[in-house]
């Protein structure tokens, strides 16, 4: 019965739930979905993580390569991020070139990482003007059920935190590069940026903030993805973006920032525990 109701009167169905202070999947407005994180599951990658926030599942794999730095920035390496939304992850996508939303998500993720300053690209330099690391960070969404950016950032950060760089020596005379895989250093990661998505909905003159929206909620709130994405690193706000949906009031914004700040701490704990367990296991 409920399914039919949902199909015939989609808006009314949604409003009925919200007027009872509950979301269609049974969550409270500010309640987030469960997070599951697993690191180093893709052995072919140099670092990897799989994260599941509710049903949204994203795999991140990092591949290392060596390259010559740009002439104008001879002491800087490269961090290349890309988000893939293959048709497999949702019925919304068709086979073909990357969709707009994939490109938007890619840019968003790249911006968040750059703004949070969690990676100093100078750390990726090996030899001035000659050699630097390229970190190809590819995120593949295999199940898209909303709040995609949150999951992407989380899996990317978990991968970066487990990444180790082998020792590379470069002979300037012969231009010979030798890699010593037995000596590895961890990549320096400053803090842990956490993105939190919100959907904004105007219901009976009041603005409602839904944390960690599912793809159904995102759709109902009139966006391609989430309406508001905020990012905290080390307790400091380092980015906030608003896309479509209803207008954002000051109270709503404060509300959202508070949730995001709390969530940043919670997520940081999840990632830390997961990585600690993993490190215990490999050093055993």
């Amino acid at each position: 019965m409920a399914e039919i109701y949902k199909l015939i009167h989609p808006v009314k169905y949604f409003n009925d739930y919200l007027s009872r202070k509950i979301r269609p999947d049974g969550r409270a407005f500010h309640e987030q979905r469960n997070i599951k994180l697993n690191v180093n599951s893709i052995k072919a990658a140099d670092a990897s993580a799989v994260v599941k926030c509710g049903n949204t599942t994203v795999v991140c794999g990092i591949k290392l390569e060596l390259a010559t730095p740009k002439a104008e920035e001879p002491d800087v390496g490269f961090l290349v991020t890309n988000v893939e939304l293959p048709p497999l992850c949702s019925s919304k996508y068709r086979p073909g070139p990357p969709t707009d939303s994939a490109q938007v998500t890619s840019t968003l993720v790249a911006d968040i990482i750059a703004n949070s300053k969690c990676i100093d690209l100078k750390d990726l330099s090996i030899v001035h003007d000659k050699l630097a690391w390229v970190l190809y960070c590819d995120m593949v969404c295999i199940d898209n059920d909303g709040s995609l950016v949150d999951a992407c950032i989380m899996t990317l950060m978990a991968s970066l935190k487990t990444l180790t760089l082998p020792k590379v020596t470069y002979d300037p005379e012969t231009e010979e590069i030798s890699v010593d895989t037995s000596v590895r250093t961890k990549l320096n990661v400053n803090g842990l940026p956490v993105a939190t998505s919100f959907a904004l909905y105007k219901h009976e003159q009041s603005n409602i903030v839904l944390a960690d929206p599912s793809s159904y909620e995102e759709e109902m709130c009139g966006g391609i993805g989430a309406n508001l994405i905020t990012c905290y690193n080390n307790g400091i706000l380092c980015g906030s973006q608003k896309f479509g949906g209803c207008n954002l009031s000051i109270e709503c914004e404060e509300e959202a920032l508070k949730i995001a700040k709390e969530r940043a701490q919670a997520v940081e704990e999840v990632v830390d525990v997961c990585i600690k367990n993993y490190e215990l296991e490999i050093n055993k």
């Binding site: 072919a44 390569e65 060596l66 082998p166 005379e173 590069i177 890699v179 895989t181 037995s182």
Partner: protein, 717 residues
């Protein structure tokens, strides 16, 4: 299916300057057998019980039943000891097998042969895939240390496995042989019984001569006391030196005339670098890859003209005066064109030692065990060996392996491998020739012989159907007298009609014995033939590439017998222009197997008008035209007269040497074989332009003639 466990091992490797992560699966199993007769748990089949239940101890150090487990260094250095039948009940771990394979393929083959010899009771245990013996490399642990640990783990496992699995509480112990001091130390701490290969072998009873085979493997640069020679540079110093251009890499070539002189060709110098004196040569042996330091130009000398042989009685460990040599070499005149860049050996990059044939020079002191060995090859220095059998060996040709050359030893150290036979004995001398030229000449193994067809094999009917039947053609073969391996045959006949230019047409065929019908790819026979790669003819002896049944019978195109062949058949006009070529497998029946002389007589004898004679005449006439064409095309004619030994019919001793007579028919056969080769090469190049492997002789570089020119100049003087 057996139960399997899986773990993963990771490897990162570099390729094209970039790094690649390689992931491999590694399955661990519980169905691998221990191979011991004393075990009643592993589900062995009878032929899998390699190790004896109650092995008899032959070593006085360990007077209880035991199995030996060998460390990699023992296999690599003491393979000659292992090849003796004395040691039995030995466990070869997979870890060791793989390390040996990685470091030295020849050693690996020899080890496999021992393992495959059932009588030797060598069991190869797959410890790397056994769930209880596999270990993972720890972070920061060197591969070498990890392997040592894996070996110790396997030792400990065997010890407990055998103790648990024995029926009556009596079970063989494990003794680990290792020459690695560190490994031995940790093994003792872990309660594993171990000792060095030397200690073990020296205490073996009842195996005469085993001690002689012990390799005297000392680390050459550690003997700094009483050092005669300057120390070699370390590999990293050499690497550094070559990189910054101070040192050069080359292959050492010892002079045949002067044992204190040699040369090395290095990059950047046209002339080979001259190396003189004990110190200048610094323990390099002919063929070694060496690092050379070149002197400043004012110290350059010229090669000596004197002959100097190292024939002194054993002077002990001291170097004699080199003044004679060096004085001669002092350049008389700086502009002397014979002055050559001169240098000295400062390090060895790679030794290229093999086993050498030669004779034992007995020590003057009766009862001494240290003797000198003089190799048959003049470029190899004399070798110090230890043996207690010098009385017997003095009269023999013997085989010796080089082990090391410490700084404080006048001569390199080696050990006796085996005796070849009395000096002057024909068989022993033949053996020397074969060994020195690295000719494989062992009897064909059972596996190879098993690939042969039965002795009474005849061509099956269905095989004939698959091939072009040329049995009715008048085919004949022409070979030297006494030839039993007739591998080629010819035929020729006139064809009716004329060519467009009004010339006569002929059909000419070359038929090569189809060995591929019997030698199938990848069989033991195929591999053996590939390793021999040619038949070697000695005086009175032939070392066949394939067994006799094939070479002298089934693949010999004998007269009057049906044989399988591969044929190349041309249509040729009377001016020897090829009109058409075809290739096919065929069945032939040679009408006559002739000698060159018989063929010549048949051609010359005007009264003969039979088919054989007329086809020979066609062939001969065409061959002359082909030869003319070839020479006009710039072919090089090398005449190295072949010689023949006249053998005594009863003693089979050679009594006379004579140059072979060259008849027209020799060149006739040669011409058509060349034509067949050319046609096949053209066909191959046309069909497989990417991968046809063709042979050519490039023009020789002028440097190849320098020795000849020098000799010729002296003749003029």
């Amino acid at each position: 299916m057996t139960k399997m466990w899986t773990t993963k091992s990771f490897l990162t490797k570099t390729k094209r300057g970039n790094i690649i992560k390689i992931v491999r699966e590694h399955y661990l199993r519980d169905d691998l057998l221990c191979g011991s007769g004393a075990c009643n748990v592993c589900p062995h089949k009878d032929d899998e019980l390699v190790l004896e239940e109650k092995p008899e101890s032959i070593c006085t150090l360990f007077d209880y039943p035991h199995y030996l487990i060998l460390d990699t260094n023992v296999v690599l250095h003491q393979i000659d000891v292992l090849e003796e039948d004395a040691l039995k009940n030995v466990i070869i771990l997979q870890t060791v097998l793989e390390e040996v394979k990685h470091q030295n393929t020849a050693m690996y083959q020899r080890l496999l042969e021992i393992i495959n010899n059932k009588k030797r009771r060598f069991y190869s245990f797959v410890n790397e895939h056994h769930k209880d013996t596999y270990i993972e490399r720890e972070p920061g642990e060197k591969q070498n240390d990890r392997n040592d640990r894996a070996i110790r783990k396997a030792c400990a496992w065997y010890e407990t496995h055998l103790s648990i699995c024995s029926v009556d509480g009596k079970f063989p112990k494990i003794v680990l042989l290792t020459d690695d001091e560190n490994n031995r130390k940790i093994a003792v701490e872990e309660g594993i019984v171990c000792c060095t290969a030397k200690d073990y072998v020296e205490n073996v009873t009842g195996a005469i001569g085993l001690i002689d085979k012990l390799s005297k493997n000392v680390i050459p640069e550690t003997c700094s006391r009483d050092a005669l020679y300057p120390a070699h540079l370390t590999p990293s110093q050499i690497h550094e030196g070559i990189r910054n251009g101070k040192l050069y890499q080359g292959t050492y070539r010892a002079s045949r005339d002067n044992f204190l002189e040699g040369t090395a060709v290095v990059n950047g110098f046209e002339k080979p670098i001259l190396l003189q004196g004990h110190i200048g040569i610094n323990r390099a042996v002919d063929g070694d890859t060496i690092a050379v330091e070149i002197f400043p130009e004012e110290e350059w000398r010229r090669p000596s003209d004197i002959v100097l042989e190292d024939k002194a009685d054993d002077p002990g460990d001291q170097l004699e005066e080199e003044a004679v040599l060096l004085k001669v070499a002092e350049p008389v005149d700086k502009s002397d064109e014979e002055v050559t860049p001169t240098g000295k050996v400062v390090g060895i990059i790679r030794r290229k030692w093999r086993q050498y044939c030669g004779i034992l020079m007995r020590s003057k002191f009766p009862g001494a065990v240290r003797h000198l060995f003089t190799p048959a090859e003049k470029t190899i220095p004399r070798v110090r060996i230890e043996t207690r059998q010098s009385d017997v060996l003095a009269m023999q040709r013997i085989l010796v392996a080089l082990d090391s050359w410490p700084r404080n030893s006048r001569y390199p150290l080696g050990h006796f491998v085996r005796a070849l036979g009395p000096i002057g004995n024909k068989d022993a001398e033949n053996e020397v020739i074969l060994l020195e030229h690295d000719v494989p000449h062992a009897r064909f193994s059972e596996a190879v012989l098993a690939c042969l067809p039965p002795n009474d094999w005849t061509i099956p009917e269905e095989e004939i159907k698959k091939r072009v039947d040329l049995r009715s053609e008048c085919i004949c073969s022409v070979d030297p007298p006494g030839c039993t391996d007739i591998d080629d045959a010819l035929h020729a006949k006139a064809l009716p009609g004329k060519t467009g230019d009004g010339l006569k047409r002929y059909e000419v065929g070359v038929h090569i014995a189809d060995v591929t019908h019997f030698v199938r790819p990848n069989t033991a026979l195929d591999k053996e033939a590939a390793s021999r790669s040619t038949t070697v003819y000695l005086v009175g002896r032939r070392i066949d590439m394939v067994p006799d049944l094939l070479s002298s019978n089934l693949c010999s195109l004998r007269g009057g017998e049906e044989r399988l062949a591969f044929s190349c058949v041309w249509e040729i006009d009377e001016n020897a222009n090829i009109i058409h070529t075809k290739f096919h497998k065929s069945v032939i029946k040679s009408a006559a197997a002739m000698t060159y002389e018989e063929a010549q007589i048949a051609i010359d004898d005007k009264s003969r008008n039979d088919k054989v004679a007329s086809s020979l005449r066609i062939l001969n006439a065409l061959a002359k035209k082909l030869n003319r064409k070839r020479l006009d095309n710039g072919a090089l004619s090398l005449s190295s007269p072949e010689i023949r030994f006249q053998m005594d019919s009863e003693t089979h001793e050679p009594v006379e040497v004579a140059a072979k007579k060259i008849l027209e028919t020799n060149s006739m056969v040669e011409e058509f074989m060349l034509l067949a080769n050319i046609s096949v090469a053209e066909k191959l190049a046309a069909e497989f332009p990417q991968c046809a492997m063709l042979r050519r002789h490039p023009a020789p570089p002028p440097a190849n003639f320098s020795t000849f020119l020098k000799a010729a100049k002296q003749q003029v003087r």
